[in-house]
């Protein structure tokens, strides 16, 4: 009779719809990294660096999860370590350095400093996994600026240091209920915490690691455009989880965020393609150009996906892609951009697009887009949560908050990334040797992406004995 009251085997605060969507969304975001980014980057680099690039993606993902369980989650989303008086910057700076390991820590109801409006209806394990896949994709994104010369051992050191000192701090300040969150800066799914930050890290990192060999820059043929299509396709549709998961409820704002994300992406893709057809010397549409535009749309809508309406989403895709296209084609010829070998252009498609998208929140956010309604009352009654940009509020308040948060992300990420890279430079070194770089995967890993077999059957008996050979 103990279980007669209910035959549902989970706690009353848990909502199966919310929990299911959150786990599905997290898995979609995870697929953006593996295999999404791994095969996208593998397809974009020279054939001789495919294995190296893909292994860095897989190893980075794994390293981030271990860091996340041991201390990362609690530093970014746990209760704050109060380094200063309540309300001050250092009171809302970073959480405690402690693992997420006990049964209660995983199965108990998720709480974080950010969800002051309504409680989460899923356990901490769900929130921690969802937040992990966001953390994991960030170093993989800035890896795009460093491929083709970064030392493999350096990467194994950079990822845990960067997650701890850069990502956890930025996430706590904007998403964990920290200082900028309290001030009113908003970032729907990571235009700042992920994309602007990855763009800065790629640029600063590439400057410190130094350029690829000139031979590799001159012959930077992508190895396989079909794999690029597979990777980027998973990334587009995976973004449904990226932005659709960030209301943390399987509600109407999740649906709106998914639709807005896709329309901004479509507009971005078409904008870049038409600009290539109209304004480049060759006047030709290119596949890789269209994909750049697609990424601009995805990244730029990320800070605002559930807070702009359909018109806003189209404008975000259009404005961001036009600006990034201009940056890609012209800013890249001006110092310091012309002097830094950001191999896959992360500073443009992620850094610039993330910044533009974050600032556009301050103009285009529609207060009619209710992220959190008021239960039991009129859905959009007082107490509901939405964001209002200049076009609706005629106030620059939101834009100013967005600007301050962006300035922080740029300064903190760049400074700490530089610190980490210089530390790694003097400890394990940042570059593979030029002799190894000339050969690539075979020298670095003794593997290659497409091994050419010799077709003959072996003739000599194997030197080792194996029961199959008797």
């Amino acid at each position: 009779m103990l279980f007669a009251a209910t035959n549902i085997p989970y706690p009353g605060w848990l909502n199966p719809g919310d929990n299911t969507w959150q786990l599905v969304a997290a898995t979609l975001v995870g697929l953006m990294s593996l295999p999404g980014l791994a095969v996208l980057y593998g397809g974009l680099v020279r054939k001789k660096f495919i294995v190296n690039t893909m292994l860095m993606c897989f190893a980075g993902f794994a390293l981030t999860l271990v860091v996340w369980m041991l201390w990362g989650y609690n530093m970014a989303f746990g209760t704050f370590s109060h380094f200063g008086p309540t309300g001050s910057f250092f009171a809302g700076f970073i959480g405690h350095f402690k693992p997420l390991a006990s049964a209660f820590a995983e199965q108990g109801q998720a709480v974080s400093g950010a969800n002051t409006l309504i409680p989460f209806h899923f356990p901490t394990a769900t929130l921690a996994y969802f937040q992990f896949v966001f953390a994991a994709i960030t170093p993989l994104l800035f890896l795009g600026g460093l491929v083709g010369r970064l030392k493999f051992k350096a990467w194994l050191l950079i990822v845990p240091l960067w997650i701890t000192m850069v990502y956890c701090v930025d996430a706590a300040l904007l998403w964990g209920g920290g200082f900028f969150a309290q001030k009113g800066a908003v970032d729907f799914s990571g235009g700042y915490v992920i994309h602007l930050s990855a763009g800065c890290a790629a640029f600063v990192g590439a400057a410190i690691v130094g350029p690829r060999r000139w031979q590799d820059r001159e012959n930077a043929f992508p190895s396989n455009l079909m794999m690029v299509a597979v990777g980027i396709g998973i990334i587009w549709l995976g973004w449904n989880g990226f932005n659709g998961g960030d209301p943390f409820y399987a509600g109407s704002d999740a649906a709106a965020a998914v639709l807005n994300t896709n329309v901004a992406t479509a507009v971005g893709l078409l904008t870049w393609m038409f600009m290539d057809m109209l304004f480049t010397k060759q006047k030709k549409a290119t596949f890789l150009g269209a994909l750049n535009g697609m990424l601009c749309g995805l990244v730029a809508i990320t800070p605002s996906a559930g807070w702009v309406d359909g018109t806003g989403a189209i404008l975000v895709g259009l404005i961001a892609t036009v600006l990034v296209w201009v940056a890609w084609n012209y800013l890249s010829k001006i110092r310091p951009f012309s002097k830094v070998d950001d191999a896959l252009g992360v500073v443009y498609t992620h850094g610039c697009a993330g910044l533009i998208g974050g600032l556009l929140v301050g103009f285009l956010a529609d207060p009619g887009m209710i992220e959190y309604g008021v239960p039991g009352k009129v859905y959009d009654a007082a107490g509901s949560f939405s964001v209002s940009g200049w076009f609706y509020s005629h106030s620059f308040h939101q834009l100013w908050e967005q600007f301050l948060a962006a300035a922080w992300i740029i300064c903190w990420t760049s400074a700490i990334t530089a610190l980490i890279f210089y530390f790694v430079k003097v400890t394990v070194g940042l570059r593979e040797s030029d002799a190894d770089l000339a050969i690539g995967d075979v020298a670095i890993h003794e593997e290659e992406a497409f091994p050419e077999p010799t077709f003959g059957e072996p003739v000599l008996t194997p030197s080792h004995t194996h029961s199959d050979n008797n």
Binding site: N219, A220, F221, P222, T280, Q282, K284, T286, L288, G289, N292, W328, N329, G345
Partner: protein, 112 residues
């Protein structure tokens, strides 16, 4: 016995196969090769950067024939491969010292 070699435009392969069969050739070997001649290369654009491809994709055809067949096969290959544009390729003939048919052990012209 002669070895007839030809470097041709890839899309001409089937026409050459049909033409040399008609004059009595029983076998040929094809390899994918790249080369430059008077054609010059072409341009490809990746991520806004232009790359010049100097070496053009070609096929190399090799046919072993008896002395009496040489002229007819060379003519068949040359006329089948012609498009009257730059880059049609080249046919050349070399002497063969000796031939062995591996399965039967036949030697000389009867092995061809």
């Amino acid at each position: 016995m002669k070895l007839i070699s030809a470097v041709i435009k890839p899309f001409k392969l089937d026409e050459i196969k049909v033409a040399v069969r008609e004059v009595g050739v029983t076998g040929m070997t094809v390899s994918q090769v790249r080369g430059f001649g008077r054609t010059g290369g072409h341009i490809e654009i990746y991520r806004g950067k232009e790359y010049e491809f100097d070496f053009v994709d070609k096929l190399q055809v090799e046919i072993v024939v008896t002395d009496e067949l040489v002229d007819r096969v060379v003519d068949a290959v040359a006329s089948a491969a012609r498009t009257d544009t730059v880059g049609d390729g080249m046919v050349w003939v070399t002497d063969i010292e000796h031939v062995v048919r591996i399965r039967t052990g036949e030697r000389g012209p009867s092995a061809v």
